[in-house]
């Protein structure tokens, strides 16, 4: 039987090779399509190894793109799976003009991709034609390969900045950039070749917006913004996780192929893709021989060029001792791009430092007086990198100008003080190439202070680099080096262990009964087998680690070690598995975090020296570290300065011509914006976008003073009459409560704020639900800043495994809960958190709104929670816990990560959390609308829309924060002027531009986890969300509804939660009676408060209070 099968197989292969020759002809001559048909017939008839044969069958048949690829079929496995090792030394260039768009479902070519010429006179390197790979859909090439073998693929691309216009399928479309890296999924011949190719990243190129200027008032340096620049950039396709330090190789049989890229994020302009061989760097000995052959000479004497790694400083920023480091000419040559006429991008010195990520901005190091430039108390942005420069593949590139061509030595003043016992690696390239093997993995050891690192060979010989006369580039790129391989192995083990965990979980549940025998050896022998193999793998890994890095690394390995110990115990006796199951889960989480930590690769740079060999090895180099006395003096001076330096005053604004500044407060810990970093960004935005310009409406400059104050300062300061004009980031409860006491301005006032409707009633700017919580009666008391609401998160991999669809309605949720619980997994809904009252309230509100209920009566004189809808909603809410046994305390991110909760509802901010902190499940989850309720008419018939689909209400509750204007006297001219100025500020700050800029700045400062949840719809549309996620968010946003505020409203959230806890904690409690009882308490409090504020409420609503 077997031999027969073999024969058939051989026949098929022989036949298909033969036919492939024919089909090449057939491709050239479409009339002979018959031959090709036979080829496919043969393969399908035998039904064996279809895919492999397809590739060999010459002309490819179009089919649907499939992203199915097993997680264990990684790059290593892919390389192993193909025996051939040929690497043909040919180059196949796929040009922009040949690029096409594919239909994802059929694989057919739709049309050629739009060709764009992105040219800007301000950009040094633009004006080349490129194919526009759209921000959605699949684009790529159909091409022929002449010689079978392995190829690297290099990509030349540009990420556009701003809005572009293009024609697609006969229609003109527009697209704006999202200022993030582009992400693509790679398809070869309609499928993803291996697991790691599911996502490749194409970085955007960033630079500082200006040189590092001094603020004349505070003598602090101002941090420039990070601007993305449109630069053509050529990179090989490679592992974005950085585990694989070499570029990917792809195997192509001779014949026709499809190379396609599915957009995950961002549109990009592609000049070409090239299939070729990337040469490995040669060892230095060979390179040296070449130098001699080319007659390259060492530069002699005292040539030494100091390059500040972070940017150009004003000469005044340096101390007298360090002034020799300053490059005053270059600094003075800088012209602000705003000054269009004189600006010339080719001469702009800020282009001399390019970087792959906006988080790579200049930072302050005040730990040593020898950091250049230095000041003991003022801010000098004197270094770059550190923990901002730790993601694999992040690079910084410096352009340096040398006068004379020749061989130079390079030395870096650098520090790695984060990972003790470990070294950090960087790849050094000069003028776009890695000059020799030795600098492919440049290591920087752990140490507390800055040191000079000069690349040298293993024998200690200083490596020299050839520089042309004029401009040269030096690039340092973060690589994992050897660590990558280890981590790839660990990651692999982890995903196996995770799978085993889920297999066992399906039998035992999250907390196994210890008195029960689960017969794991018969139920899930495969899982137990995994535990055994991974034990062996991890033990081997630990040994390798220790051999490689020595004993010092041992402290870094504790997570790995405890996992090994645990596996050992579980392997000894499988009946112990249930006992250790909780440990197992914790260890998996710990190991995930560990891998994440270990792949961080921080390095901090102060400056770079490019000099003759003699200078670098001589003793004229500045000492990278200060001596004991210098340090002591530094510490004493900083200490003394700490008494006079006002660290809280972010503004430092001086009133001009007697104009009082608008005082803006930001309470620490308030909402999303209350931290020093955020306050600094805010201040910078104000300086650049607001205060520096003449305000059009008031025809004057408005000076703003920003202050970061301690949490809870607002109330006492208002009481004492020393409050600010504007306070940012207040919750809805605050705004309305202050309003009842006449402490904040009503912004819906036609007289004082004639244009308030353009801001607050503008549905293109804010959803109604954003403004609603700040509204009471006829007044609106704050302008929304941020808004948050729920989305449903689900694990695509697990749902697929179980054959389930993400739920769209609550009925489907009930269905899914059953399926999940059969497998010992569960569904999760946000629950009240101990110590944070009101957190569970949104869950109730979501159910309530979908049932058509409301919190309060129209006139807000009392709750409307005695309605049927409310009782139903409450009952349903509690039944999730009493009947369906959903978890009532849990950590969403962790359980989602392990797969224990594969579907759950959570705040949409979880998206960025998961994206950053759970990289191992990247691409395995998505989010969609919260489950909805199918709408029925009075006769219980389902209502259908015009397409024949049932109408589903996805309403959910939202939470908003906003900025308030404190009450001011409007009876005098001066008072009205003050109010007008404050209002102009509020409009600007909550406007599209400021919110967008704030969002992007904050993200570049703190990373993607800090994505800003602006309430401004227009600004939101510009934040770096990918298209599908954005569509989902916007869709959900339309359904979002607010919880209105009433006097005594704090009592509502509290008592609804009490009622919920009462029911789920006491088996005997009846939901209906319990709820009614607590609602009556709420009503009593509201009555009491209405009585207290009777007069004010009458004034606010224009109606009498009974």
């Amino acid at each position: 039987m077997k031999s027969l099968l073999n024969k058939v197989l051989v026949f098929v292969i022989v036949a298909s090779i033969a036919i492939s020759v024919f089909s090449c002809v057939a491709f050239a001559n479409p009339d002979e399509g018959e031959v090709q048909d036979t080829a496919t017939d043969v393969t399908t008839e035998t039904g064996t190894t279809e895919d492999e044969n397809d590739a060999e069958a010459g002309k490819l048949e179009a089919k649907a793109f499939s992203s199915d690829v097993k997680s264990d079929f990684d790059y290593k496995a892919y390389v192993k799976s193909i025996k051939d090792t040929a690497a043909p030394d040919v180059s196949i260039k796929l040009e922009a003009k040949d690029a096409v768009e594919f239909d994802p479902n059929t694989g057919e070519v739709i049309e050629n991709v739009f060709i764009l010429n992105r040219f800007s006179e301000h950009l040094p390197d633009s004006g080349r034609d490129g194919a526009l790979f759209y921000e959605d859909g699949i684009c790529g090439w159909v091409f022929d390969v002449e010689q079978s073998g392995w190829y690297n693929i290099t990509f030349s691309y540009l990420l556009y900045d701003g809005k572009i216009e293009y024609v697609r399928k006969g229609e003109t479309e527009y697209s704006a950039d999202k200022s993030s890296a582009a992400q693509r999924r790679v398809y070869i011949d309609y499928k993803v070749p291996f697991y790691d190719a599911r996502q490749v990243n194409f970085e955007r190129v960033w630079k500082d917006s200006s040189v590092l200027k001094l603020d004349p008032q505070t003598n602090n340096e101002k941090r420039p913004y990070q601007n993305s620049t449109e630069q053509w950039y050529t990179v090989p396709l490679r592992d974005y996780m950085g585990y694989e330090s070499e570029p990917f190789k792809f195997y192509f049989e001779k014949g026709q192929h499809v190379l396609a890229f599915e957009a995950i994020k961002e549109g990009m302009i592609v000049e070409y893709a090239e299939l070729h061989q990337i040469e490995d760097a040669k060892p230095y000995s060979e390179v040296k021989a070449e130098y001699e052959k080319n007659n390259y000479k060492k530069v002699d004497g005292n040539v030494a060029l100091y390059v500040q790694a972070e940017g150009l400083h004003a000469p005044e920023a340096y101390t007298e001792k360090q002034i020799s480091f300053s490059d005053a000419d270059a600094y003075n040559s800088y012209i602000d791009p705003v000054d269009e006429t004189a600006y010339d991008a080719t001469k702009d010195p800020t282009f001399n430092i390019l970087k792959s990520s906006p988080t790579l901005y200049a930072i302050t190091d005040r730990s040593s007086p020898s950091t250049v430039p230095y000041h003991h108390s003022k801010i000098r942005y004197n270094t770059i990198g550190a923990d901002k420069w730790q993601a694999p593949n992040d690079w910084i590139e410096w352009t340096v100008e040398v006068e004379e061509a020749g061989l130079y030595a390079i030395s870096f003043k650098a520090r790695q003080n984060t990972l003790s016992g470990l070294s950090t690696t960087r790849r050094l390239s000069v003028n776009g190439e890695v000059p020799c093997q030795e600098v492919d993995n440049l290591t920087f050891e752990y140490g507390n202070s800055f040191k000079m690192y000069t690349p040298h060979t293993a024998d200690g010989e200083t490596i020299l680099f050839y520089f042309n006369a004029g401009k040269n580039t030096i690039r340092l790129e973060s690589t994992l080096g050897d660590m990558g391989e280890f981590l790839a192995k660990a990651e692999n083990s982890l995903s196996q262990l995770n799978y085993a965990y889920r297999r066992i979980l399906m039998i035992t549940g999250a907390s196994p009964d210890l008195n029960k025998s689960y017969m794991l050896n018969t139920m899930v022998p495969d899982a137990l087998e995994i535990l055994k193999t991974e034990y062996a793998n991890l033990s081997a890994l630990e040994v390798e680690f220790t051999e490689k890095y020595g004993k010092e690394i041992s402290a870094q390995l504790s997570s790995l070690k405890s996992m090994i110990l645990l596996l050992e115990r579980m392997n000894e006796d499988h009946t112990q598995v249930p006992t250790l199951f909780t440990n197992f889960k914790d260890s998996i989480a710990a190991m995930g975090t560990w891998i994440n930590d270990m792949s961080q690769n921080p390095l901090e740079l102060d400056y770079i020296v490019i000099a003759s060999e003699d200078t670098i090895s001589g003793n004229t180099m500045p000492n990278p570290d200060a001596n004991f006395f210098a340090k002591m003096i530094h510490e004493i001076r900083s200490f003394i300065a700490s008494f006079t330096e006002d660290y809280d005053n972010i503004g430092g604004t001086v009133a001009q011509d007697g104009q009082e500044p608008v005082i803006v407060w930001l309470e620490t810990g308030a909402g999303l914006t209350g931290s020093r970093d955020n306050a600094t960004i805010l201040k910078q935005l104000i300086d650049d976008m607001f205060s520096s310009q003449i305000n059009e409406n008031l025809n004057e400059q408005i000076i703003v003073s920003t202050r970061l104050v301690a949490g809870g300062s607002l109330l006492p300061s208002v009481l004492a009459g020393i409050g600010p004009e504007i306070c940012l980031s207040r919750g809805a409860v605050d705004a309305v409560n202050y309003a009842f006491r006449g402490a904040v301005m009503n912004l819906a006032d036609d007289e004082l704020f004639p244009d308030w409707k353009e801001v607050l009633a503008n549905r293109e700017r804010y959803a109604a639900s954003a403004v609603e919580p700040f509204t009471f009666g006829n007044g609106i008391y704050a302008v929304p800043e941020t808004q948050d609401f729920f989305m449903t998160f689900y694990r695509t991999d697990i749902l697929e495994e179980l054959g389930l669809e993400p739920p769209e309605t609550w009925d489907e949720v009930y269905n899914i809960i059953g399926h999940l619980q059969n497998q010992q997994m569960t569904f999760a809904m946000p629950v009240p958190v101990v110590g944070a009252v009101g957190s569970g309230n949104n869950t109730f509100a979501t159910l309530l709104y979908q049932k058509g209920g409301q919190y309060y009566l129209e006139d807000r004189s009392s709750t409307d929670l005695n309605s049927d809808a409310a009782l139903d909603a409450f009952k349903e809410w509690t039944e999730f816990y009493t009947l369906y046994n959903l978890p009532n305390t849990y950590d969403f991110a962790n359980r989602f990560r392990t797969g224990e909760v594969p579907v759950g509802i959570a705040s949409y901010s979880q998206y960025s959390q998961l994206a950053v902190f759970a990289p191992e499940i990247q691409g395995l989850w998505e989010f969609s609308l919260v489950p909805g309720t199918i709408q029925r008419d009075d006769n219980e018939n389902i209502i259908y829309d015009e397409n024949g689909d049932p109408v589903v209400d996805h309403s959910c509750a939202s939470t908003t924060s906003g900025c308030v204007m404190l009450a001011m006297d409007s009876s005098t001219e001066a008072g009205r002027k003050r109010i007008a100025r404050a209002w102009e500020f509020m409009k600007w700050w909550t406007g599209e531009d400021a919110q967008y800029r704030f969002g992007t700045e904050i993200e570049s400062l703190l990373g993607a986890a800090a994505r800003y949840q602006t309430a401004n719809l227009q600004a939101m549309a510009r934040l770096p969300w990918d298209k599908t996620s954005m569509t989902m968010i916007q869709e959900q946003w339309k359904y979002s509804k607010a919880i209105p505020q009433v006097p005594g409203g704090y009592y509502t959230a509290r008592n609804i939660e009490f009622a919920w806890k009462e029911v789920i904690n006491n088996a005997g409690a009846d939901p209906n009676t319990t709820f009614v009882e607590y609602v009556s308490k709420i009503d009593r409090e509201i009555d009491r408060k209405r009585e207290e504020f009777k007069h004010k409420i009458e004034q606010m609503t224009g109606k009498a209070v009974e």
Partner: protein, 313 residues
Amino acid sequence: MANSEAKAKNKAFFKDWLKYQFKEMRKNGSLYLFMLPYLIVFATFTILPVIVAMYFSFTYFNVLEPPQWTGFDNYVRLFTADDLFMTAFKNTLFFAVVIGPGGYLMSLFFAWLINELGRRTRAVMTLFYYAPSLASVYPVWKIIFSSDQYGLLNGFLMNTGITLTNIKWLENVDYIVPCCLIVILWSSLGTSFLTFIAGLQNVDRTLYEAGAIDGVKNRWQELWYITLPYMKPQLMFGAVMSISGAFSVGGAITSLVGYPSQDYVAHTLIHHLEDYANQRMELGYACAIAVLLFLLQIVANKVIAKMLSKVGE
């Protein structure tokens, strides 16, 4: 006539008394000078606020608008219309009765125990016992009492098979108060504990010898008749600290079970006060609660002082 005479006499007496006081003060001027810094601070930050709070307790004051005089309204409402106040009052008394004497006796007991140890061990043990009141230790207890199955206590109970599901220690009304009591008692070995140790060190050794000669039969008698009477000042100080601590229990509960606790089972006067001051912004009413709490503590102190005078009798 006799009346006015008596008045005049009184006046004269008062005058003399004042004169005498001034004379005494001038004589000890330097002493008063030394006390001055403390007196100023004490007056500004303790006496003045108490007086201001008393004034506010007779007003309606919503923090942001000027207070309005309302007489005894707040007090009337407190006792007649506020059912939560009674819960809070009851809880506070309960906590005070358990934690005040409990913590006090515990401090004394442990101090006495530790005092028996050698010098080095004593220093180490003192640190161990005193440490909890130095740092905020509640997060540790939150891990122990964590509601999910990964909480230490839940994990232990479930691993040993005592319970099958997780118990929501800090959310279930049946467990909240006991949990709080354990934690607060544990961390109540504070200042009074230290003073007791100091007091015990101070006892004159010769007295024990004399006691033995005079017929002290056992350690209990030694403690009751010699040690305790000798350290009465420390006992008094400890008692004052315990009482004020016991009545103003609040922070610990908030950090354990959140605020407000489920169904107000652990709602104390401090919580009630904060609720009105911060959440409902009714500062006048909150001041009324504060004044009551203040009176309560004074009464309790008087009682304790009476009881302490019986020590050694």
